[in-house]
Amino acid sequence: MIPPTFDYARPGSVDEAVRTLADAGEDAKVLAGGQSLLPLMRLRLAFPDLVVDVNRIPELRGVREDGDTLVIGAMTTHHDVIADPLVRRHAGLLAAATSTVADPAVRHRGTLGGSLAHADPAGDLPAVVLVMDGELVAQGPRGRRTIPAREFFVDYLQSALAADELLVEIRLPKADGWGFRYEKFHRVAQAWPIVGVAALVRRGDGHIAEARVGLTNMGTTPLRASATEEALSGAGDPDAVTQAAQQAAQGTRPTQDTSASPEYRAHLARVLTERAVLAAAGMG
């Protein structure tokens, strides 16, 4: 559990971090909370020449409002996300899902931005940001650009960030008035989810006006259960939700590992979607 030799840089500002990354080329890795990168390095599965530690950049931390949007600094820790009153008020789904991440030690070090940039489909937060129609703001040598969550997660452990780009903030439309639920199914409290389902539901007059369903660990990226979302529109009773949930695994390609088969994951996606939507819709 000893990583190979690497160089270490600790920039004090976003500009300096971006310059450091640009100079280093492909062989640098950004160190955020270190809860995923360091284990990979210690197992010698990742071996960057340069580690760029962005923990001492104050402007990357904190939560603020920007009209109807919540802006969360990429280096805001899970613990701070859960505790933040703005997040609780306007992005309850994010707070709920974040509180299921690993254990208190991890939540005090791990960050929202780090978790998203790592792009692990088994991470809890990518599906949440996807379902909230969030946007991710990256800064590179050519300035800032905003990437919709739908385009951010490219493949397994692969995001749309270029090697010289730093994720600086996450923009979430306020989900005021939406019911929410994160259904996480895992074998022990510290384990990654076998499957997770993030549901956001806006109720109309006695029925579901709009529902969004995000899937954790059902493919190489976080996914939206689009067929289920469409079927849920206008659903007026639990039976309709149950019916719609049957389509939750459509188009997914879940993996096989020591915890579950693809077939079982697909089954769980359907069961958990039903439960998450019913709870989010207040029908549970």
Partner: protein
């Protein structure tokens, strides 16, 4: 002679050990540093089975900071073969086991080469510079397939993957079966487990050039046994080896071992004349520290329609892994006597075949043979009850040894000295609210609830306190089972207890202090307990098999009695009285009838130190040693009840309540007993629901880190209701029985019985451990569609 009042025994004393442990003042082996310390790193095979064609360490040697690097061949002559002390059958196949592989690697993780460097970082980097050419060989990865015709061989020179056959029988099982109304036959699987002590292994060796001595510090359970076997293995004379077990962070049997790394460190320290350290990482531990369990259990019970058990037949296939480690062949045999458990029956047949596979070697893991036995018998008792339509508690009650029948010799030939299964079970049923839960269970079935309730019963006993040397000899075990204690009363009356046990979390320092304080009538705080250093505790057999209290703790008590006897002579002389006229109570001798004529043990100690006025011919010492070799085992027992909610949609299992009433005899420290039960039950639940070492079809361990090998934590475990009955053992003067493994032994079948019980309405008879959500879900699905439960 009057008995001293128990002031300490039975008290929930806070542990003397804890202040330094919880404030980080610990002395783990990896914390030890000496001048000029060099660091070892070990290159391990990435393949389950391969021929080694070439090992080239030259590029590693060129790296700055690398002092030495060796292949297995380079050092084979000086290292010998790792010992196996328990070849259970006369014709047991014992393969050669070099600490570093020479011609072939036989499991993924088998050492191939070793590097010595100035720091551990350089050592880790240097491993990548070693070149090894392998020719892959077919690997044996399946216990059941290992003996099939034409299967590849783990040790081709042995011509077979069969390690041994062991057989024993008592009564005529076939005749019993012929008379039976019901015969239930099952095949249960004990999955492979990774012991996962909190502290991984570590070893430091410091050579003393002047005297040719070596001090070996190791995170071990067995400093004494290790010293003997290091001498035998390496040829370094025993008196030139000092073994120290500093603070040791858990073992669970995994440190009851003579490991290759200990031999490598010792031999290379001698070769290089430099102090060396090796520390294992967690992922290294997962492949290189021995594993546990891994058995296929065929079990058959024959009974009458009224539930009377007539006979039992057990046939095991036991995985040895790639080589025989210290006790491996004996582990299943340690369980052989426990299958009949607490039940009376007229016939019992047992057989076991040990087989080699290309996986990490197997050896003792908390309970060692007895959890396997208890699991199989307690599972099949539930299955028999279901078959007969009986309540599983009633079936047990119908068959168990009644309290008035003790001492009772079982069909397996063990004589249980004491027990009261009725009392423990009645108490447990009442705490659990058994009848009410049965009503709720039926209710959920009636309403076709998607979440079902299951109730699991486990009425276990175990044999603990390894122990009788003559029994061990009959079992072909190489050593004895005695334990030593010595007590030194210092001039100021303070007391030093030196024990041959080697605690690694059990709290011996506290418990032995309580025993000695009562026996000598001195304050608890005045007793210092020392252990784990062969120079200090010269005589010992160490800690495993729930033996420490029943052998080592009793030895402390007996040594204290000898001290009192010697002190009595001095006191009688000082008080000018006859020894027979002295009472000893609360640490003081008084003359019967004149209590003002009084000498405290502290006064006697000082008088002995001064030795101005001792009885004629008496040597000036009241110190004493006692080496105890008990005549028999001790037999704790208890009743564990588990209520589990099973979500039939997802397969998730939630333990809603867990009650245990254990009878571990006389309790020295109730807090320590409860702690042992909590930890033991957690480990038993872990086997039932969570843990399994999984290999791919090439023999690579897939559960190589704690992200994949799921050890449950506090949030995953239920509230435990623990209570006790106290039926003193009659086999030792303290009445104690041992508690280190009870929780692990009892809990696994209680939990799996609960899960299966919840799903019996679906036609489910068994779920393979660990009962993962997917396996449970599959069982429900297959049950619903009437198919056979999948593996």
């Amino acid at each position: 002679m009057s008995e001293t009042v128990a002031r300490e025994v039975g008290r929930a004393r806070l542990r003397k050990e804890d202040a330094h442990l919880i404030t980080g003042q610990t002395n783990w082996t990896d914390n030890i540093s000496v001048n000029g310390l060099l660091h070892l790193a070990i290159l391990r095979s990435p393949m389950a089975h391969a021929r080694i064609d070439r090992v080239d360490v030259s590029a590693a040697l060129e790296l700055p900071g690398v002092i030495a690097a060796f292949s297995g061949r380079d050092v084979a002559e000086s290292m010998g073969s790792l010992p196996c002390a328990w070849p259970v059958a006369e014709d047991t196949v014992v393969p050669d086991h070099p600490p570093i592989a020479v011609d072939e690697v036989r499991y993924a993780g088998d050492p191939v080469a070793v590097v010595v460097a100035r720091d551990r970082y350089t050592a880790a980097d240097a491993l990548e510079a070693i070149e090894v050419d392998y020719t892959p060989l077919p690997a044996v990865l399946d216990i059941e397939g290992a003996l099939a015709e034409g299967t590849a061989l783990v040790h081709s020179d042995k011509g077979t993957n069969r390690c041994y056959d062991y057989h024993s029988a008592s009564g005529d099982y076939e005749a019993a079966k012929a008379r039976a109304d019901v015969v239930v036959t099952r095949r249960y699987h004990q999955q492979r487990l990774i012991p996962t002590a909190m502290e991984p292994r570590a070893v430091v060796v410091t050579p003393l050039a002047a005297s040719g001595e070596f001090t070996l510090y190791s995170s071990t359970q067995i400093p004494h046994v290790l010293r003997v076997l290091l001498a035998v293995t390496t040829g370094i004379p025993e008196h030139k080896i000092r073994v120290v077990a500093p603070d040791v962070g858990g073992g669970f049997g995994s440190k009851l071992q003579v490991y290759g790394e200990e031999v490598i460190a010792l031999v290379l320290a001698r070769r290089l004349g430099r102090p060396l350290k090796w520390t294992e990482s967690r992922s290294e531990a997962n492949v290189a520290t021995h594993h546990g369990r891994s058995q296929v259990q065929d079990i058959e019970v024959a009974a009458r329609r009224d539930g009377t058990v007539l006979g039992l037949k057990v046939s095991l296939l036991a995985d040895m892994g790639a080589y025989l480690m210290l006790l491996c062949p004996g582990i299943p045999i340690l369980g052989a006597s426990m299958y009949p458990a607490i039940y009376k029956m007229g016939a019992y047949e047992f057989s076991c075949t040990g087989v080699f596979t290309n996986r990490t070697p197997i050896d003792a893991y908390r309970g060692a043979g007895r959890p396997e036995a208890t699991y199989a018998i307690e599972r099949i008792m539930d299955d028999l009850a279901a078959e007969l339509g009986m309540d599983p508690v009633d079936l047990r009650r119908h068959n168990w040894i009644r309290h008035e029948e003790f001492p009772y010799t079982t069909i397996a030939g063990l004589t249980y000295d004491s027990g009261n299964y009725e009392a423990a079970t009645d108490k447990a049923l009442s705490l659990f609210d058994y009848d009410k839960l049965r009503v709720e269970q039926a209710d959920r079935v009636d309403h076709a609830d998607t979440v079902r309730l299951g109730i699991g019963v486990s009425t276990y006993t175990e044999m603990c306190g390894l122990a009788p040397s003559r029994w061990l000899s009959e079992m072909r075990y190489a050593a004895g089972g005695w334990e030593a204690a010595s007590i030194r009363v210092l001039p100021t009356g303070k007391v030093e207890v030196v024990t041959g046990t080697s605690p690694h979390g059990q709290g011996h320092v506290t418990s032995w202090s309580q025993i000695a304080a009562d026996a000598l009538g001195v304050p608890f705080e005045d007793v210092e307990v020392m252990h784990g250093d062969t120079r200090l505790a010269t005589h010992g057999m160490d800690t495993y098999g729930s033996r420490s209290l029943v052998v080592g703790g009793v030895a402390v008590h007996e040594a204290a009695r000898k001290v009192v006897d010697k002190a009595r002579k001095v006191a009688a002389h000082l008080l000018e009285a006859n020894e027979a006229d002295l009472d000893f109570a609360d640490g003081a001798f008084t003359v019967k009838g004149s209590p003002e004529a009084r000498k405290t043990i502290q006064e006697v100690a000082f008088a002995t130190f001064a030795s101005h006025d001792l009885p004629d011919g008496m040597e000036p010492s009241i110190n004493a040693e006692h080496v105890l070799d008990p005549d028999t085992f001790s037999y704790p027992h208890g009743t564990h009840l588990c209520a589990a909610e099973v979500d039939t949609e997802t397969g998730a299992v939630h333990i809603r309540s867990y009650v245990c009433v254990d009878d571990v005899g006389k309790v020295i420290n109730p807090m320590i007993v409860e702690g042992q039960l909590h930890g033991g039950i957690a480990q038993g639940i872990a086997q039932a629901l969570y843990e399994e070492a999984v290999y791919d079809e090439e023999g690579n361990l897939l559960t190589g880190t704690l992200a994949d090998y799921l050890v449950p934590g506090a949030p995953d475990l239920p509230e435990l209701v623990t209570d006790r009955t106290e039926t003193p053992a009659t086999s030792n003067p303290l009445g104690v029985k041992g508690v280190g493994e009870a929780g692990t032994i009892a809990s696994t079948p209680a939990v799996v019985n609960a899960v299966v019980d919840a799903l019996r309405p679906f036609g489910v008879q068994d779920i393979r451990m660990p009962c993962t959500p997917e396996r449970v879900w599959q069982a429900v699905r297959s049950g619903k569609s009437g198919k056979e439960a999948p593996a």
